[in-house]
């Protein structure tokens, strides 16, 4: 009950946020929406199914490059089309990689996803003619709902229509994911996490369930990645680098992977914290590494674990 109130309050705060007139903070929130969507997907893999991917950044990069390719090479500017294309591309890539990855669990799954991520990274980096190499590709300003919003300047566009578009998308993503997690399919995934052998016995097709979770996570990742690339206006290979995947898992853990809203909270805290720490010291990695170490050692349930006493007792 209190969770529902908190979510409602958070939504109101986010909706009112740009009206406060602090454009800096409103633009700061933009990557949060993209990451939030991507992490909802990643948590389906890790939190629900128990598979730790160290190459999920692959799909974010895929979404970002889809956006870049469509806007700057093909002249497609409708964000709806871009997001749909990103989702389809994500799924298309996830099918072959997923088929291979879900044959393994635990550390081998992590290593295989890492290898795929780095494969894509080196492809982006080395095939200059297609991907622009280390300079990346530009992502042009998209049209939202068929409108160009031409009279608005860049910041006005981003903190205005695009902000609410992203927020709405995050809400839609969360609702969809909520339905997935609560469906028989989601329950099957949880059974797999708890005990794959028993799940198999009760009639859950373990490998197919894992595969489906992988594809869904990839689609969320690609959509989140496409959304991320719009405010930065750039898709660059570092999006696929393994440390980016590490950061995604970091956000997940920070928020708490055992809770549905944990990943979204993690993305939020990560982004705000990064902004704050970076303005204080250039050695933000050290601070973040220390935070991650503390979270891993002392609070494996993340922030949500701290906030929700039920969960603390339960696990």
């Amino acid at each position: 009950m209190s969770i529902r109130l908190a979510v409602a309050a958070a939504l109101c705060a986010l909706a009112l946020f740009p009206l406060a007139g602090r454009d800096y903070y409103a633009t700061l929130m933009l990557p949060f929406f993209g990451y939030g969507i991507a992490l909802l997907g990643l948590n389906l893999l890790f939190g629900t199914t128990g598979l730790l991917s160290f190459g999920h950044a692959l799909f974010l990069a895929l979404g970002a490059y889809t956006a870049a390719f469509l806007t700057s090479k093909l002249g497609v500017l409708d964000l709806e089309v871009i997001l749909a294309a990103a989702a389809v591309t994500g799924a298309l890539v996830a099918v072959p990689t997923g088929l291979l990855c879900v044959r393994y669990v635990r550390i081998y799954f992590g290593m295989l996803t890492l290898a795929f991520g780095m494969l894509f990274y080196s492809f982006l980096l080395k095939f200059y003619a297609v991907t622009g190499g280390d300079e990346g590709m530009r992502v042009l300003r998209p049209r939202l709902l068929g409108l160009a919003w031409a009279p608005l300047g860049k910041v006005e566009f981003l903190t205005g229509p695009f902000y609410y578009y992203s927020l709405a998308l995050l809400v839609v993503g969360a609702v969809v994911m909520w339905r997935i997690v609560r469906s028989p399919f989601g329950l099957g995934l949880r059974a797999i996490r708890e005990n794959a052998g028993k799940a198999e016995f009760t009639g859950v097709d373990v490998r197919r369930y894992r595969f489906c979770a992988f594809v869904v996570a990839a689609v969320f990742g690609a959509v989140g990645g496409a959304l991320l690339a719009v405010p930065t206006g750039l898709a660059d290979p570092l999006l696929a680098y393994w440390t980016h995947s590490g950061n995604l898992v970091f956000m997940l853990l920070l928020g708490g992977f055992g809770n549905f809203f944990g990943p979204v909270l993690g993305a939020f805290v990560f982004i705000v914290l990064q902004d704050q720490v970076m303005s204080v010291t250039q050695y933000w990695r050290f601070v973040f590494g220390a935070i991650l170490a503390v979270v891993v050692i002392f609070f494996p349930q993340g922030l949500m674990g701290l906030l929700d006493p039920r969960q603390r007792a339960g696990t």
Partner: protein, 286 residues
Amino acid sequence: MLGGVFHAAVLFLVAAGLQLVFGVQKILNLACGSFYALGAYAGVSAVSFTLAAGAPPAVFPAVLVGAGLALALVGPVVERLLRTIYDRDESFQLLLTFALVLMFEDVIRFVWGSAPHQLGNVYLVYGQLRVGGLVIPVYNLVVIAAAGVIAALMGGMLTRTRFGRIVRATAENRRMAEALGVDVSRVYVRVFTLGVALGTVGGALVIPATAAVNEMGIDLIVEAFAVVVIGGLGSMRGAVAGALIVGIMRAVAVATYPEVEMLAIYVVVIAVLVLRPAGLFAKAAA
């Protein structure tokens, strides 16, 4: 080709550290690349220092190895941190080492700054050998020989000495070893420190040939990973074979078709993981 073997020699050292720690402690240590970078920077400092003191160039390898070994002192400290989560899920162990990667990167940036560090002409002090039409920097041979010696020493230690037997027993069955009177936590500290030392020495040795840059650690991790996967997790012979495969493949790719340099390696990694997940050399000894 020989450049490939040189690269392989360094990769072997780092990968051997990774293997040792994984074989015994079952932790996949992402921070092994950070130790490599740490060793490299320390190597630069140590050599510049001895150069300023007017020492002859012949002592450099010794100085570098010494710097690497001295840095291994961080091993027990890091191990103490890791010890808190030995009984946890391996995802958490992986993440803790990722936290270490982030922290070490900034430690290096803090101490040595973000500009690349390079040792001027130390590399060529040893001269070059001409074999047929090939020009081979002698330093490369020194490093390859050093890696060979270290590999032989490691092999000897693991198979012939008492400590090696204990390490292998612990890797095989930790509880049984403990029941037989092995102080496992002490073995862990030593093994981890040894793993760190392999990484730092590897980093220190590479430094006359290349510049030390901030990203060298995180770049090398994925290569060392590739080595370990190709060779088989936890196998020392696998580390040798994997390092040679990756090093030579890279050299060949750079010479013939540079676009696929790293791409080819990951393709091999994926192929190995899919076809023979245990690696080409299934677990022999720790």
